[in-house]
């Protein structure tokens, strides 16, 4: 029915509209995302001290060379990986366990869901301040140590001992974040057809078997996605150590992002900090791309 000239007029209108609609967002993404990415790489090839902006020197890959022999960089990388390797399984298993607890419909389920989600309603800064007080090593002022001593245990220097500081941050972060992943798991659980469970229980499968042979395989895609976002989030660790330990004791909670911050903003080694940032960027991108590939394979 529609005649061709009218159609092409509409097509032209559409094309004009398309550019009006996309250019503002694309421009902003370019200016404040792409340009900084390019400049991270560019500055990483320069010796650039923030106090001497006129004295910028091209040094090629020297910053990266320096990085290889920088103990503090390796320590920051090690701490970040340590945090990620421990917090991801802890948080994801906790989230899945909580999701299983509140997946079926029973009276009051909404209350329990909200309870498990509630740490998410406060910010990481709030949680970090609260737990700094709770973790206090003095059993007279630290709630957790007061509890431990009442059980007859020795108080623990949670945050002031290099051996326990990162673990304490891991425990707190897992507790704070699990509610978020629980919600994703709950949505994933809804995608598993009910009749699979019914058939299994007719066949005499108990709850544990049902969990292992129906729930877990049914959640495969969700689990991979949850692991991916938890991993990326974990790699960016900064707020908790900044508020709770300032990277200490003995740099045991200095992370990569913390190191970028100290090198760039506190010590003013902009070029060098950009080299660290570029390495951090590559790690995160490689990680998310390989996880995305894994997810695509399941779907």
């Amino acid at each position: 029915m529609s005649n061709p000239s009218k159609l092409s007029g509409r097509k032209r209108n559409e094309r004009v509209a398309a550019y009006i609609f996309t250019i503002p967002a694309m421009f902003l993404l370019f200016a404040f995302l792409v340009v900084p990415i390019l400049y991270t790489v560019r500055y990483s090839l320069f010796q650039y001290q923030i106090v001497r902006p006129d004295n910028i020197l091209f040094v090629g890959l020297q910053n990266y060379q320096k990085l290889l022999s920088d103990e503090n960089f390796w320590l920051a990388l090690k701490n970040t990986v340590y945090f990620t390797v421990l917090v991801v399984p802890f948080q994801c298993v906790l989230a899945l366990a909580l999701a299983m607890l509140v997946s079926s419909k029973f009276r009051g389920v909404a209350i329990f869901r909200t309870m498990y989600f509630s740490p998410q309603l406060t910010s990481m800064v709030v949680i970090s301040i609260l737990w700094t007080v709770l973790y206090n090593s003095n059993p007279n002022t630290g709630l957790i140590n007061s509890f431990l001593t009442s059980l007859g245990l020795e108080p623990i220097n949670f945050l002031s001992n290099a051996k326990t500081a990162m673990n304490s941050i891991i425990f707190m972060s897992g507790w704070q974040g699990a509610g978020y992943q629980m919600m994703i798991f709950l949505a994933g659980l809804q995608g598993i057809p009910r009749d699979q469970y019914e058939a299994a229980s007719v066949d005499g499968a108990n709850k544990v078997q049902q969990f292992l042979y129906i729930t877990l395989p049914g959640l495969k895609g969700t689990i991979k996605y949850v692991v991916m976002i938890t991993m990326i989030q974990a790699m960016k660790l900064f707020t908790q150590p900044y508020v709770m330990t300032q990277g200490g004791p003995k740099n045991s909670t200095k992370t990569l992002v913390y190191y970028i911050y100290t090198q760039g903003f506190q010590q003013g080694n902009f070029g060098y900090a950009c080299a660290v940032a570029a390495v951090f960027f590559v790690i995160v991108v490689v990680m998310s791309l390989s996880m995305k590939k894994l997810i695509a394979e399941t779907n």
Binding site: R10, N13, A25, A31, S123, S150, G191
Partner: protein, 282 residues
């Protein structure tokens, strides 16, 4: 047989409730302690820590909150935070939704490229670009000024992607019907598409509100002036400011959580759906 089934059903149910109640209480106990401490006089917070009364404010008073408001310019802090988030959200919802719509429904050169670009940049960690971004802000003269908090974070790949996913599901017939009536594509979007897309706007709104309300690092880097502080910065500074009264600190933490709580009560459905759908579509 039937009776034993009934008892075992009852037992499972009982165990379920008992488990949930015990785990739930342990789970929220740090938050209960925070609220309880915020209502107690300083001297009482650390008394009787071994008894259950540490979680119960016996002589509850709002004195700690008065102290917070007298030592911290909370109204200014809330104003700073709300103004910057409101500006981001208005521009975010407008610019990212029209961009997502064009990528969903329009035919034009460069569309595939743009879409790949958006998806590729979605994983970009802000922490990796904060140094040059800071330099950019200082070159623009925006350090310590509102635009530094707002302009770089208006366009969001994730929001564009969410909008596009939603608009892709709108039937083409609906849009064609409007264009046969003579409405231009731009007009069609604002009069036909936007009104039926409230859910996706609500979802993006609440997800981005939460993200910015909780954001610490970027405001911490660009807003160094005392009168410019956002909420997270203000309470972090308050935590280290003498005299350190833990009761007042707990009260400050509670105050900072109130707006989030109110948002959650009203937008719960969209917030949870937003989190959940990110997993399904991911």
């Amino acid at each position: 047989m039937k009776k034993s089934m009934k008892t075992s059903n009852f037992l499972t149910k009982f165990l379920f409730y008992a488990g949930n109640i015990i785990i739930g209480i342990i789970f929220v106990s740090p938050l209960i302690w925070m609220i309880s401490a915020s209502l107690k006089p300083e001297a009482q917070i650390f008394a009787n820590m071994n008894s259950i009364s540490t979680f119960i404010p016996v002589q509850a008073s709002l004195d700690n909150f008065k102290e917070v408001f007298s030592r911290l310019d909370m109204l200014q802090v809330f104003k700073n935070t709300f103004v910057y988030i409101a500006l981001i959200l208005v521009l975010d919802l407008l610019l990212n939704s029209i961009c997502g719509y064009a990528l969903a429904k329009f035919d034009f050169k460069g569309k595939g490229l743009m879409l790949n670009f958006v998806v590729a940049l979605m994983v970009m960690p802000m922490e990796a670009i904060m140094l040059p971004l800071y330099i950019e802000m200082s070159q623009l003269g925006w350090v310590n000024k509102l635009p530094a908090l707002v302009i770089p974070f208006v366009a969001k790949c994730f929001s564009i992607y969410m909008f596009r996913q939603f608009f892709c599901d709108i039937p083409d017939e609906l849009i064609e019907a409007a264009s046969i009536d003579g409405a231009s594509p731009v007009r069609t979007f604002f009069t036909v598409v936007m009104p039926i897309s409230k859910t996706v706007y609500a979802t993006v709104f609440i997800l981005d509100f939460v993200a910015h309300w909780n954001d610490f690092m970027w405001p911490f880097l660009v807003m160094t002036g005392e009168s410019k502080r956002t909420i997270q910065l203000a309470i972090q500074v308050f935590f280290g400011t003498q005299p350190i009264h833990y009761s007042a600190i707990m009260a400050a933490l509670v105050v900072s959580a109130v707006p989030m709580l109110i948002m959650f009560i009203f937008m719960q459905k969209y917030y949870i759906e937003g989190i959940a759908s990110s997993g399904i579509k991911g």
